[in-house]
Symmetry: C2
Subunit: 245 residues, 2 copies
Amino acid sequence: MERQDIHNSDMPVLCRNCEVRHRGLCGALEAGQLLALSRHTQMVRQEAGSELIANESEVHSYANVMRGVVKLSKMLEDGRQQVVGLQFAPDFLGRIYARHNNLTAEAASDVELCRIPKTALEKLVEEYPELEHRLHEQALRELDEARDWMVTLGRKTASEKVASFLWLIATHIDPVTEARRQEGLVESVTFDLPLSRTDIADFLGLTIETVSRQLTKLRKDGVIEVVNNRTFTVPDLERLETRCG
Amino acid sequence: MERQDIHNSDMPVLCRNCEVRHRGLCGALEAGQLLALSRHTQMVRQEAGSELIANESEVHSYANVMRGVVKLSKMLEDGRQQVVGLQFAPDFLGRIYARHNNLTAEAASDVELCRIPKTALEKLVEEYPELEHRLHEQALRELDEARDWMVTLGRKTASEKVASFLWLIATHIDPVTEARRQEGLVESVTFDLPLSRTDIADFLGLTIETVSRQLTKLRKDGVIEVVNNRTFTVPDLERLETRCG
DNA sequence: GGCCTTCTTTGATTAAGGTCAAGTGCGACG
DNA sequence: CGTCGCACTTGACCTTAATCAAAGAAGGCC
């Protein structure tokens, strides 16, 4: 769609303005390699709610998340659902080397993806070991996150779970703010929740009623201010962190 | 300790009898590469309960699990604990590239490890991309397992959790039996639990009392037979699987 | 073998969170 | 502008698993 033909430039036009180029997968690559990669990529937009990867489906392509939030989930046979991860730019989306997907990916917000066909990426990975290295690092990072979340799921109270979720969003939704927070420059943030109450409940292993009640409690305790159903302000992030257990 | 000097053989003596050579990390390597690797490795035994990796400690070495079960866990500040994974032969133990460990690893049973210093492995990985590929694949496998377990933690009942745990052990403790099971040749198994009730509870996000009660229930329902506290028989694995939710 | 410690089971009670049932608020759309 | 539909909140009640307490087993040690 937005694929570009490149002639006399060192770097693909598509990539030159790419916000995530220095962070994601592509950060591994030189101009020439970037060109090789970009020959196969395609920018696509998907609106909130659309299914990006169907469970059990054959893997045809991978993608980089460029903008927005992607929700990864699994379901038991009887319909009980668990959200097993969220992905933000510039995360890599898709389980490389697998023949079939073993989870469902859905656009939690409107998202922009940079897609690449399975075979194209796999060929490039063989050619540039640095690519595999990047993917490996991301897999390890996701593993760390998954294990951290296991602690939340297994050992935290409902109230701590909800606080942990808000903390996760507050510190992931906007990389710029987050960088400034880590330098101690930010103590208050306002953000839009990328998930519905149902999704939050499925992420936390709770019911929507319990999520709602805990949000009300956090509001009454002044830990959060509810701008509207989907946008919250956290006046004091440290205070929120304390509530995470 | 058991390091070998190799002269005129194609393959290190240490590796020649290694049970996991064809499966784990080393399966990636030719005789010559195996030799390079084995120059740095060291077989060590650790008895049940000993700490293999301390949380927050600096990473000095990695290891392959050769025999036994390793328990990975995380703790909240107030002492609540969550087991976030179990490792069996021939799993790789340690978070490569990280400066500091972010979890605790403990020998759940008596274990045998094939240790390799951090720098040695990292140098080899640079030299042999196939090694990184293997590590990447394991990271992805562990990520899949972690996410599957998130479903168990977040969405299953106490009874389903305990059944899921027994299922996990039954299908992982002995690779030979497991291979035969997958061919439909095995329906009944007997095995030793590598974890205490406390550890099981910490793995499932339950209390030991609840674990105990659910085991009693499974026993009364004939799903398991308790040989003794630590060894169980599952007469009908399919029946157990049904109980996993 | 007997005693002590530790692990495990069992029982009684409580509390956290789930379920069921009404509301409320808000955006979409006629 | 009204009303339909949906997401969310709130309340009453119930179930599950946690907590508290005690009694049994099992392993270690003299």
